[in-house]
Amino acid sequence: MSDSTGTRRRRLSVRRLGDHASLVAVAVFCLGPFYWMVVSSLRRTQDIFDSAPLPSPVSLDNYRAVFQPGNGFVRALGNSLVVAGVTTILTLIVGVFAAYALARLNFRFKRPVLALIVATSMFPGSLLIVPLLKLFTDIGWINSYQAMIVPNLSFALPLAVWNLTAFFRQLPFELEQAAMVDGCGAGQAFRKIILPLAAPGVFTTAIITFVVAWNEFMIALAMVNDQDMKTANVIVAQFTGQHGFDQPFGTQMAAGVVVTVPLVIAVLVFQRRIVAGLTSGGLK
């Protein structure tokens, strides 16, 4: 008796060890490359091809190089912030109304409408870029924020509507009904009851939308050729070193860390909520 429980315990602990080892492998797989970006960004230019797991000596040269005025990196970060921020705000304002209707109201063609909205997020960006590039050239929008923000809505809005619909639907219907029995109109019930309760869902959607908009590259690359209007992703991808043709990897990694770290921190802090948002949407 005691012998067999001993074996079982041993087998369990072996299994647990295997689990832990595999989990560590998963974590290394996910975080390893990111770690390498951070480590590389902290090397001196002459040590950049070192493959030691820790930089020695630690140097901030690359960060200094990134923030050199000539690079326009600070300006680019500001551009990214404007584009992603405005995209997020517009998306939420428009998306909240649609999601409320889809989640809480009773009307015909509800399912086709939702399916249609989700389907719009599947069009290839390159299909949209051809006519929009032409249109924006004609109306003089090239090198403007709106030339990046407006096409961004095509990716962000369907995602936000789908996410918000899932959140709104989780709220109990009795709340609204009680409010309406008490004489609130649908609009009032929405403003006073639903919106405050859905605030966490709206916030989650805001983070996800912001990450998606911050990561956008194709449109920003096509719509802007003025150095002062480029977003951070584009500027970093186009960094050229002081020495001509060789790629300034150290500087690029440092810039990559600066562009990425705020998002990584946000993701770590709001991890639970983001997962809830992504999986309830079931959609990137």
């Binding site: 649609a98 009307f107 390159s126 032409k134 990897f249």
Partner: protein, 312 residues
């Protein structure tokens, strides 16, 4: 439908009409935006794809450019001559990347999800780790992998050989596949994990009592029950892979036959002001994505938006 607030003294056709009006009002801003950023570009792209640029001499003997209706010229041009080779290569690359990355990411993502599902301690930590590749912009992660795959980079140090990863040829394809897998396999894992978590524990207990082995439990219980979540994940991955742009563009470069995708080709043509061929290429890509989605849903019965809606 009974769940949708139809009960009580407020139910009735009059109320439904009122809600319908409100719904139209609330949905119209979204549709107005989508009309501008989706519907207009699609119609315009199809229109552009049917127009050709012509050059001729005007009365003063100067070259003038004009546009005229060209029927399917832009489409047929995509299949012939040097442009045809480039288009076929891009089509092949797009298909190859989609099939390989989605297959690898599905298997890897499923394995990672099963692992994370078993671990009780530290699950939150691993979910956070999984989100890191998702949060890094694709363009930045492409640079990161370009650095890892540099001639003197860490990949070659670890392998102990000198592979020219991002130069050209099959290695460049591998580099794209590896980088894409890193970014999105964790994401597939996350979606599958969500599917795993709704499987009731009792199902497994009953199976254990009946003496089902681990492998059998996986194929007979886990896989069928997680299938809806898995198919949705695969479907969205597939559509994303078909329009891949940032990763090959930054990791390897534009106009590289080894990795050029249809999105890159269309983008390159559009930014060089060859709108007709660009639009034709993008339209074909759109048709390809729609066809792939349709076949996928038909063959595998993917649980799409509408169906999932209906069940709730």
């Amino acid at each position: 439908m009974t769940a949708y607030g139809g009960a009580g003294p407020l139910a009735g056709p009059a109320r439904r009409v009122g809600q319908g009006r409100l719904a139209v009002a609330l949905l119209s801003p979204t549709f107005a935006v989508l009309a501008v950023v989706i519907a207009f570009p699609i119609v315009a792209a199809v229109w552009d794809s049917l127009r050709v640029t012509t050059e001729g001499l005007n009365a003063d003997g100067l070259v003038v450019q004009g546009e005229r209706f060209g029927g399917l010229t832009n489409y047929t041009n995509l299949f012939s001559g040097a442009a045809g080779d480039r288009f076929r290569t891009a089509l092949g690359n797009t298909t190859f990347f989609t099939v390989t990355t989605v297959a690898i990411e599905t298997v890897l993502g499923l394995a990672m999800a099963l692992l994370m599902h078993r671990a009780f301690r530290g699950r939150a930590l691993f979910r956070a780790a999984v989100l890191v590749p998702w949060a890094i912009p694709t363009a930045i992660s492409a640079l990161l992998w370009r650095w890892i795959f540099a001639t003197d980079g860490v990949a070659n140090t670890i392998l102990g050989r000198q592979v020219l990863w991002t130069a050209d040829g099959i290695q460049a394809k591998f580099a794209v596949i590896i980088a894409d897998t890193w970014k999105t396999a964790p994401f597939v894992a996350l979606l599958v994990l969500a599917g795993l978590q709704v499987i009731p524990r009792e199902v497994y207990e009953a199976a254990s009592v009946d003496g089902a082995t681990g492998v059998r439990r996986f194929f007979r219980i886990t896989l069928p029950l997680v299938k809806p979540a898995l198919l949705v994940a695969v479907m969205f991955r597939m559509m994303d892979a078909l329009r891949m742009f940032d990763l090959p563009q930054v990791l390897v470069g534009a106009r590289e036959p080894a990795v050029e995708t249809l999105s890159q080709l269309a983008w390159d043509e559009a930014t060089n002001l060859r709108y007709g061929p660009a639009a034709a290429c993008a339209t074909l890509l759109f048709g390809y994505i729609a066809l792939a989605a349709y076949v996928f849903v038909r063959l595998l019965g993917a649980d799409l938006v509408g169906d999932r809606e209906a069940r709730r």
